[in-house]
């Protein structure tokens, strides 16, 4: 492979068009190579930086792979018990109505043990944002089946594939919360390609801006991959995600600034 020589004329500070946001700490991300969590963290922090609201934002991290989000996000943040982030965030937002409050949760956290907290925070129309990273599996604990695991999809607790007869169908939390008048903006995004990331970032921005309107909860699902859980390399997992997850979890806005 030809040895590439850098061009000092280009490598000038004034020519920087993209660099890592300062709102991510220096700590190396604990996520597996190619995992969408890192990208999701990054665009959320980029939006907070671009909106200049670092001093006005309080985050709530879950239990799951992103339990350590508080080590990576340079904002005031609380780590909630498994599934309870929407309740924790509800109190923070009620006590500080002018602050920007968000939860960052995985599918096990939000759609299994935290189902009630998710539905009721949405039903109360809390003026906050929920970021829901859906990779169809429990990553942190080693790849168990989640409520979002697809029919026939293997995991350490559905080793022969999820059997709908005995283990039920995957739970579409995003469509479910969209039926609640308390949700103002409900969308499903992805972060596996540059264009998907750009769209997702616009959704993140909209979700934060919505908090100024005081007209309900913004719910942003990000369908993501899980390389170690799905036992694939990152590029394969992104392809598998497009072929298998997207048909069941279609990407796109479900409800845009409509509180009916």
């Amino acid at each position: 492979m030809a040895e590439f020589k850098t061009n000092p004329e280009i490598l000038q500070p004034e020519n920087v068009v993209y660099k890592r946001t300062e709102l991510l700490t220096d700590k190396a991300l604990s996520y597996c190579p190619g995992c969408g969590h890192g990208t999701a963290h990054r665009i959320i922090m980029e939006v907070i930086e671009e909106m200049g609201i670092q001093a006005e934002t309080i985050g709530v991290a879950p239990v799951g792979c992103s339990v350590l989000a508080y080590e990576f996000m340079d904002i005031d943040i609380q780590q909630a018990a498994h599934g309870r982030a929407p309740a924790v965030a509800t109190a923070i937002k009620r006590l500080f109505p002018d602050k920007f409050v968000f939860t960052y949760q995985g599918d096990g956290d939000l759609a299994a043990i935290g189902t009630a907290e998710t539905i009721h925070a949405c039903n109360r129309g809390e003026n906050m944002t929920i970021f829901f990273i859906n990779n169809g599996i429990y990553g942190m604990t080693g790849g168990q089946m989640a409520p979002t695991t697809l029919p026939g999809m293997k995991s350490s607790t559905s080793p022969y594939g999820r059997d709908v007869k005995t283990m039920g169908n995957p739970l579409k939390m995003t469509e479910l919360v969209a039926t609640l008048p308390g949700t103002l903006y409900v969308t499903r995004q992805a972060v596996h390609t540059a264009s998907a990331v750009r769209k997702a970032k616009r959704a993140v921005r909209k979700a934060f801006e919505n908090q100024k309107l005081n007209k309900g909860l913004s719910f942003v699902e990000i369908v993501s991959n899980c390389n170690s859980g799905w036992k694939m390399n990152p590029l394969q997992s992104n392809e598998w995600m497009v072929e298998n997850m997207f048909p069941f979890y279609p990407i796109g806005d479900i409800k845009v600034n409509d509180d009916k």
Partner: protein, 360 residues
């Protein structure tokens, strides 16, 4: 100037919390304590002092709302009754582990399981030995009057912030539901953002350029650090045991026997003392006000003079273990108590004293 009122225990507690400058209440209905939330809602606390009152979808959600508010340095509380308190134990462990101040009220009812809605004292172990997972303790205050239900709201918040620890007011269905005269404090202001920045600089109210970001968590995957954190918690509990013991002694000067009882049982023992002394039996009462820290030294000193101790609890006997630990076998210690929701009578207690302690 303090205000005099005739109020139910639950309502006096709620009113006292508003006056103590509470910022947020997060609750869920359960007999026999639903009046706390009903009263706060009727008071329109948001308009009155800016205090948030919110009914959650479960006791679990409510305690996690308390966690969120406490992590922001606010005075926050929840109230429930036995089964509801069981649901809150994980959240309470998180709050203790993250060293957050908050106020909890348990208006105890008969158990186990769905039990009954009648009063009981069978949550002593859960309250004082750490009802959730991990080595932690709650400061536990045991009111035996409507006045103390009110007083322990303000005291509770004070101790919670002094030690950055949950404080539990352990009441019961009788005290929660009875009406008595109560003197109420004047309104104390709620915390401003400036108070929070100054008094609780660890609170998550938004990372300003002048400081690193604040993180509220009870997690540490590095065992060395986790052990150090636990040592720090144990040191806190040692300090609490050293400085915060509260109790009351009644008719103990010449007592040859003693009751040890708290809450409703302590009230009834005072009548039992009258009946017993009318029969020439010199008995007194030691009433622990703090169940943690338990008044060990006081109980131990009593054994220099009394020949026997009857622990009177509306349970199968839980506090008796702490009394036995303090007495170290020097004198006879026995338990008496009706439970399952039944409240013992003064004469039953006198009979038990005669049969189990004096007669023995």
């Amino acid at each position: 100037m303090k205000e005099l009122r005739l109020m139910k225990g639950n309502e006096a507690f709620a009113e006292a919390c508003i006056r103590a400058g509470a910022d947020g209440y997060f609750g869920y209905p359960i007999t026999p304590q639903s009046e706390v939330m009903e009263y706060l809602m009727a008071q329109k606390t948001q308009e009155r002092t800016g205090m948030v009152t919110l009914q959650a979808e479960s006791e679990i959600a409510a305690i996690n709302m308390v966690y969120g508010g406490a992590g922001c340095g606010k005075r926050v509380l929840t109230s429930s009754s036995s089964p509801g308190m069981s649901l809150k134990q994980e959240g309470i462990s998180y709050i203790a582990g993250s060293e957050l101040p908050c106020l909890l009220l348990n208006v105890v009812r008969g158990g186990p399981g769905l039990g009954t809605i009648q009063p009981s004292q069978s949550d002593y172990f859960q309250s004082t030995k750490g009802g959730g997972h991990g080595d932690y303790r709650l400061i536990v205050l045991a009111p035996s009057s409507v006045q103390e239900m009110a007083d322990f709201a303000g005291l509770g918040f004070e101790l919670a912030f002094k030690y950055r620890n949950p404080v539990l007011v352990l009441s019961d269905g009788a005290i929660g539901q009875m009406m008595e005269k109560v003197e109420l404090d004047i309104q104390k202001p709620r915390f401003t953002d400036e108070d929070i920045r100054k008094n609780t600089p660890w609170a998550t109210i938004g990372k300003t350029p002048d400081r690193d970001h604040n993180v509220i968590t009870s997690l540490d995957l590095e065992s060395i650090k986790m052990e150090q954190h636990n040592h720090k918690l144990q040191e806190k509990y040692r300090l609490i045991e050293e400085n915060e013991v509260r109790y009351e002694k009644i008719a103990c000067e010449d007592a040859e026997y003693a009751f040890v009882a708290y809450g409703t049982s302590a009230r009834i023992c005072q009548k039992a003392i009258e009946l017993a002394r009318a029969e020439g039996i010199k008995v007194g009462l030691m009433r622990p006000i703090t169940l943690f820290p338990f008044p060990k030294k006081v109980v131990k000193e009593m054994t220099d003079r009394v020949k026997g101790i009857l622990c009177v609890e509306m349970s199968a006997g839980q506090m008796i273990e702490d009394v036995q630990l303090a007495v170290e076998g020097r004198v006879k210690v026995e338990h008496f108590g009706r439970y399952g929701g039944i409240v013992h009578s003064p004469s039953e207690i006198v009979e038990a004293l005669k049969k189990q302690i004096i007669g023995g």
